[in-house]
């Protein structure tokens, strides 16, 4: 392999990679986008600042100590979530959140819930090994 062939392969790969990256950056996905500084956006920031992800998953991504919360909003409802946030559990700290923060977190969980269903048993398996919702 000469240097010329090697650089041609390398730059072709880089070009393909950049095309793929920018395609993904440009694309919009679920149609439930929240506006920046909206309650859901603020709720997302609280989710990150409290590091809920260390224990909870969203779409199966995150920690393993607590349950996946993607669809908790529709499955358990606001009152249930509020109760957990207020008193915590023997593992989960009781986050001292004020009313605004609680409602922002709820707005975030609501917008997350609207993006789709996370439970893997709801997915359809095809014969070629791919999956579909």
């Amino acid at each position: 392999m000469t240097d010329k062939i090697k650089s041609t392969i390398l730059f072709t790969f880089i070009f393909m990679f950049l095309c793929y990256s920018f395609y993904l950056y440009k694309k919009s996905y679920d149609g439930t986008a929240t506006v920046s500084e909206s309650p859901a956006d603020k709720g997302k920031r609280i989710w990150q600042e409290k590091n809920c992800n260390a224990c909870h998953q969203v779409y199966g991504l995150g920690g393993y100590l607590g349950p996946d919360l993607t669809n908790i909003y529709s499955s358990r409802g606001e009152a249930h979530i509020k109760a957990f946030l207020q008193s915590g559990t023997n593992i989960m700290p009781a986050f001292a959140l004020n009313d605004d923060e609680v409602s922002q977190l709820l707005a975030y969980l609501k917008s997350m819930d609207a993006t789709g269903v996370a439970a893997p048993d709801k997915l359809k398996i095809n014969y070629d090994g791919t999956i579909e919702r």
């Binding site: 392999m1 240097d3 090697k6 392969i9 390398l10 790969f13 393909m16 990679f17 793929y20 990256s21 993904l24 950056y25 694309k27 919009s28 996905y29 679920d30 439930t32 986008a33 929240t34 920046s36 500084e37 956006d41 997302k44 989710w47 990150q48 600042e49 409290k50 590091n51 809920c52 992800n53 260390a54 224990c55 998953q57 969203v58 779409y59 199966g60 991504l61 995150g62 920690g63 393993y64 100590l65 607590g66 996946d68 023997n90 593992i91 700290p93 917008s111 993006t115 789709g116 996370a118 439970a119 893997p120 048993d121 997915l123 398996i125 090994g129 791919t130 999956i131 579909e132 919702r133």
Partner: protein, 467 residues
Amino acid sequence: MEPLNGNNLGTSSKNKSIGKRYILTGVIILLSAFSFGLVGALQYTSPGLFKNVLSFEKVRPLHVSSAVFWILLAACGSVTHYLAEVKGKLWSVRLSNVQWYLFTGSIILILLSYLFGIFGGREYWEFHPLLAGPIILAWLFFIINVFKSIGSFRNQPVYVWMWMTGVVFFLFTFLESYLWLIPSFRSDVVKDMTIQWKSYGSMVGGWNMLIYGCSIYLMDKISGSQKYSYSKIAFTLYFLGLFNLMFNWGHHIYTLPAPKLIQYISYGVSMTELLLLGRIIYFWRSSVNTLKKNYHILPYRFLFAADLWIFLTLLLAIVMSIPAINIYTHGTHITVAHTMGATIGINSFLLLSFTFDIFNIHQQKVVRQISLGLYLSLASLFIFWLSLIIAGVLRADWQMHSSTVPFSVMMLSLRPYFIVFLISGVALFTGFFIIIFSLLRYHLSQKSVDKTLTLKKIKTAPNVLHN
């Protein structure tokens, strides 16, 4: 073919000590990774432990960031040291020094920030975005040093290509992981997660390029021939690896409602890894025979251990890349098992093999101690890995029939496996502790020997003049 500059005599002591400093800092951070890993494992087996002082949302990033920084520091140290060895000297030792200070300073701040409850909250590597600044700057310095030290791009061996692509890709993916700071990137939750896993998935590929590059260099050095690093097969595998780095990250997010294209690309590209696996099995025996050189016994043993784990981890990775299987393994401890296999079994064992090459240890007693540590960690890592896989299989079964059994009941049923995980984790920690302790003690004893030698030289110098 170019001559092999192994252990280049012209490499100055300054050039040698800077790489060592990175590695020594790395092993200390590795001890921190293990300590917080142990606390985390205890919290799995005794729920609620230390909840008020060191709750799990603090312990997890303390553990993860320590582990990532061990890998980054040791990888930077090894590349820096080997670059100086190959090229005779590093472009700028001072720049490397500045990079080290920036790194170490931000690592300390990052670990402290968790204790104060300041998080970045991203999955899986997170800290406050402000603290990413010095790391980006440090990495830029690293890139400059790597490229300037290499000089001409003509007729370079494969490991030099790997170092060049590795450093650039790491920076790209690291910057990409902060795109969420731009509102239009984060407002769409699924898009945010897609880009996040695109960046973090490829970032691992970035540091792997640095590490695998070093391992090819080291294998050349042990076998005494550079035939492989210039061969067609080496470059073919390098390009295959690069292609995977760029396009196979999608297996992290198969279950997300993201474009299906991601699934198809990742699934297809991941299957090309079968070629890598095929080659590993094919060359298994021959590589063992040519590498077995008593002079390099410690690096050789660690390379061999990593080889075993490359095989196991790649096998698991390929299985997990099939979407139909991934929906079972995703979100379970099987993913954790894979990560542990990759970061401990492959990355850490490889980095330690470079470490023992760089520190060049030959004292029988020390070699025996370190080998003992290695065997203990190898055996316990296997049990650790298996316990996670079994816990993962049980959780997968629960996930696929989730409606009936509550989460807490499922977690309780996994407890026996978490206990095995904890015990094997303690054994693993002990093994690594023996390795690190022996290294540090050896290094300190060498330092005092060096000091006495210098003192003797100074004392005898006037006599020489008088005579």
